[in-house]
Structures are given as C-alpha cells and as structure tokens.
C-alpha cells in the first residue's frame, strides 16, 4: 500500500509535469497549423522580408514590423537598463533604510499595474511631450521605448537589487577594509559578483519589452511603413496582432497567426540563447 502510494505519487507528479509542458507543444502546434498555410502561400522569404502589409489587397510583408519590434525593444533596453541598474544600486547601497522600506513595495506595486494603464498614461503625457518638444506626431518609436523602459524598470530594479543584497557581507567589508571608497567597492566588487543576477534581470526585462502589446498599441502609432527616425510611428509584431485581430478573418487572420509564428520563433531563439548564457555562467 505504501509502496503503491509512493509509486502513484511519483507518477502523478510526473503526469502533472508532463501535461504542463505539453501545453508548449500544443501552443506550437495550433499556432503553426493556423499560420503556416499562409506563409507557404506567400512564401517564407516574401512574408518575412516583404515591405508591404495590406491584407485587404493580399499583401503580407512583415519586415517593417520586425524592424519595429527590434528598434522599440532596443530603445527600451538602452533607456531602461542603465537607469534600472542605477536604481537597484541606489536601493541596495545608498538609500537609507526608511526610504528602502517605502520604495520597495512601491516598485512591487508598479510591477503589477496593468500595461494598459501605462500605455494610457504614455498617451496622455509622453506622446504630447514628444510632439511638442521634439516634433513629429508624438506617437513614435521613442514614445514606445520610453513607456516600455518605464514598464521594465520594476522588473530590472527588484531582481538586480535582490542579487546585490544576496551577496555575502564579507565581499563588501573586505573591499572597504582595503581602503576602497563605497563606489569603488560597488564597481569593482559588488557589481561583478552580482553579474549573473543582473544579467538575468536584464534578459527578463527585454523579454517583457518584446512581448508587450497593449501599452505600445496606444503610443507607437502602428503605421506599417519602415521608420526613418525615432520620432516616426512604427508597428511591432505584437501590436500587429493586437490591433487587427479584432476584425480579421480568413487569410488576414492566418497572416496574424503567421506573425505570431515569427514572434514565437524570435522569442524561443532568445530563450534558448538566454538559457545557454545563464547555464554557462553557473558553470
């Protein structure tokens, strides 16, 4: 009986684990089934590198959106990562305890706020600011990057802060005892030691940025042309799905699933390389 229970429990856990991950197979299967016929019809090369998206006229090229996704994510990374690491250093090292006790839950709260709220806030404040001070329609790569940078900040800050705080005390004490200043200690001892945690935070943040949909729909402008500057409106892979899914049918709908496939493949490639990097770090 006990033996039986023992076997049974392992089997159940295994079955639960297996069904959890079979979802990944299911997702892959269904999105590919729905999207591949269109890619086959249009031709993979023409679909990915085509410059014109006009489903009404049967033109399905998503290259402008690939450029859009890459540029907006890059912008968010450039703006968000240094600021995020800066804030995590502040929280872990410089901030007085009372400040930390206020800011930590605040940052946590911000991580949970719906992305639509960020997007709407961006539409009300960031977009007009860009239009008035920098020109263009305001809806732009820059606006999207700013909003995404703000959205990924809580993730980057809290994970980096945790990995900085998790360092053994003697790292810092040892360095300070050698006569280093606080900043020298942070730069030459603590940041390198916490590198793997910070890298993980950055990867997670970038993942969130590239996958975000609703917030950027509101601030990117979603035009399907290739942008000439950061002040031009642009459409990403995610917003292409988000904005058109409501009305799409037939080949148009298939094309959106095909967009999903491209997004899916890009994300999986990122995942694999991220897992590879972190694994190598551990070893």
């Amino acid at each position: 009986m006990r033996k039986f229970k023992e076997k049974l429990s392992e089997r159940i856990f295994f079955a639960l684990a297996l069904s959890s991950i079979s979802v990944l197979a299911l997702i892959t299967l269904f999105i590919f089934i729905k999207g591949v016929p269109l890619i086959a019809e249009v031709g993979a090369f023409k679909f990915i590198f085509g410059m014109s998206w006009a489903p009404g006229r049967g033109e399905f090229g998503i290259f402008p959106m690939i450029i859009g996704s890459v540029s907006v994510t890059l912008g968010a990374a450039v703006l968000g990562i240094p600021v995020g690491i800066c804030c995590s250093i502040f929280m872990a090292e410089f901030a007085p305890v009372w400040m930390r006790n206020i800011f930590r839950p605040a940052i946590q709260l911000l991580a949970g706020i719906p992305s639509v709220v960020y997007g709407f806030w961006g539409l009300l404040f960031v977009v007009p600011a860009i239009r008035n001070y920098l020109g263009g329609p305001g809806l732009s790569i820059l606006a999207g990057s700013v909003i995404l940078a703000i959205m990924i900040l809580p993730t980057i800050i809290s994970i980096s802060e945790v990995s900085l705080l998790a360092l053994p005390r003697h790292y810092k004490e040892g360095a300070l005892a050698l006569g280093m200043t606080h900043w020298q200690t942070i730069r030459s001892v603590q940041l390198p030691a916490a590198k793997s945690g910070i890298v993980a935070a950055v990867i997670l943040g970038i993942g969130r940025a590239i996958g975000e949909t609703m917030a950027v729909i509101m601030v990117l402008g979603n035009s399907v042309a290739v942008p000439q500057s950061v002040l031009d409106p642009v459409r990403t892979l995610t917003t292409n799905i988000g904005i058109e899914m409501g009305y799409a049918s037939g080949g148009h709908q298939q094309a959106l699933f095909a967009t999903g496939i491209v997004l899916f493949v890009i994300i999986m490639a990122l995942n694999v390389s991220a897992q590879y990097i972190t694994r190598r770090k551990i070893k």
Partner: protein
Amino acid sequence: MKVKFPKRAAFVMLSAVIPAFMSSCGGKTGISVVVAGSTSVQPYVEMLAEEYELLCPGIVVDIQGGGSSAGVTAVESRTADVGMSSRELNEKERELWSTVIAKDGLALIAHPDNPVDNLAIGQIRDIYSGKITNWRELNGADAKIHIISREEGSGTRSAFEDMVMAGEPVTPKAIVQNSNGAVRLLVSNDPNAVGFISLGLIGNQAGLKPVKALKLDGVSPTRENVINGGYSLYRPFLLVAESEPEGAAKLFVDFILSEEGQRLLVEEGLVSVREGTGE
C-alpha cells in the same frame, strides 16, 4: 450639445409600455439569443439588449464581438442567431437575411486650431494616399499632416476606403489606431492631425478636449445632412441571420426596429432607419 432624455421620464414611459411589450415577449422564459459580429455595432446592440432584458426578463441576449466577418461566419455556422455587420454585405453574403438597423455617419476631424475646415473628397483621397503631405497645400499652416487611419479589416476603415479612396491604397505611413476614441483623442491633442470617426462621437463630452468636424465639399457632417442626403459619408449597421429570424431572436430584432429601439440609437448619435437618407 446632446439633449439628455430625463431619466425619470424615461422610466415612466417605460413602465407605460412594459405591459404592451410583455405580450410581445411571448411569455417565454429562459431563452437566450446569441448575437455576434462587428465591434462597432456591438456597444449599441449591448445597450439595446440591456433595455430589452428589462422589458422581457425571461429572455437573455448574449453578445460577442469578433468583427463583421466573424459575425457572418457565426451566423452561417449557426453558432450565433444574429450577426452584426458594420459594412455592406459582399456578393456571397447577400443570400443571407439582413436588415439595416441604423446608419452611422463618418466625419473627418481635425484640431480646432487648424485653419482648414473644408475638404473635397479628392483632397481627402490625396491626403490618405500620401500625395498631399503638408497642410500648406490645403491652405493651412506649413506643417506635415499627421494622417490617422483605422486598422485593416475594421468596418470603419473599409467604409472609408469604399466611399473615399476609390481603390487607392491608404499610405503605409498613416498612423493606425484601433478605436474611434483613440483617433479622437489624438486629433484633439495634435494641431496637425486628421482622422475619421463615427459621427456620434464628435460631440463634446466631459473630460475630453473638442475636435473640429471638417466639411465635406462644403457640407457639414451632421445628422440632418445625412438624413437629407447632403452628406454622403455614412455606412449601414446591419443585422444578418441565416434565414428570417424566429422566436426570441425575432422579438429582439423587432424591438431594435421599433420606435423605442430606434430612439435609443438616435440618442447615441446614430441615424435612424426611420429618418431615411434621402435616397
């Protein structure tokens, strides 16, 4: 300013008509009507369903979005009793039963500070196809036009393309938004923007900045001008069904086409089918 129908009076009126309607509820209970389709029509039908369920507590109306095409598909596969469409039916779909429940004017809008207030239909086409890029060419300020369009597949966009673009593609540089409200919000903030939205939404509302509705060939986009045929930018809101509806579905469609149902639609800024369009 829209004149709000006094709420209390509405209740008095409703309680007066309830007995009349109760009889037309057919004494049915626990029956649901499934409606699916255009998200442009959806909010209006939802509002009508709310009122209808007050009148006929036994009948439940389930409304889902999905878009005009999805609505037609749902009706053909009988997953929905009634479909909603915000565009004319195409050749193939004509075999279905359909009825127009209201008309929705489209208005070109710009920022109130923009000196331009009249456009010819050809000028609109040139703007949206990317031939005219500066307000100066339209006797406006020397500034780039920020073109705002709707997403591919939306009923508003296809109605706009049918009526204005004459086969020319909308420039890919156009900014795309996926709702009337977002277009309105952007135009109200940007002196150089131009967009098109449902006529019912150009009015002022608490918390929203005003926009200016542009004249089309000298005709103001007003309900009156749609009714008398002077303003030609409008599209029908349709209900479709596999065959002529029966039972609860028919009762609901009848309610929408009734005087009360049409009055509610007019209150929301649509043009009633009873008011005609001068055709």
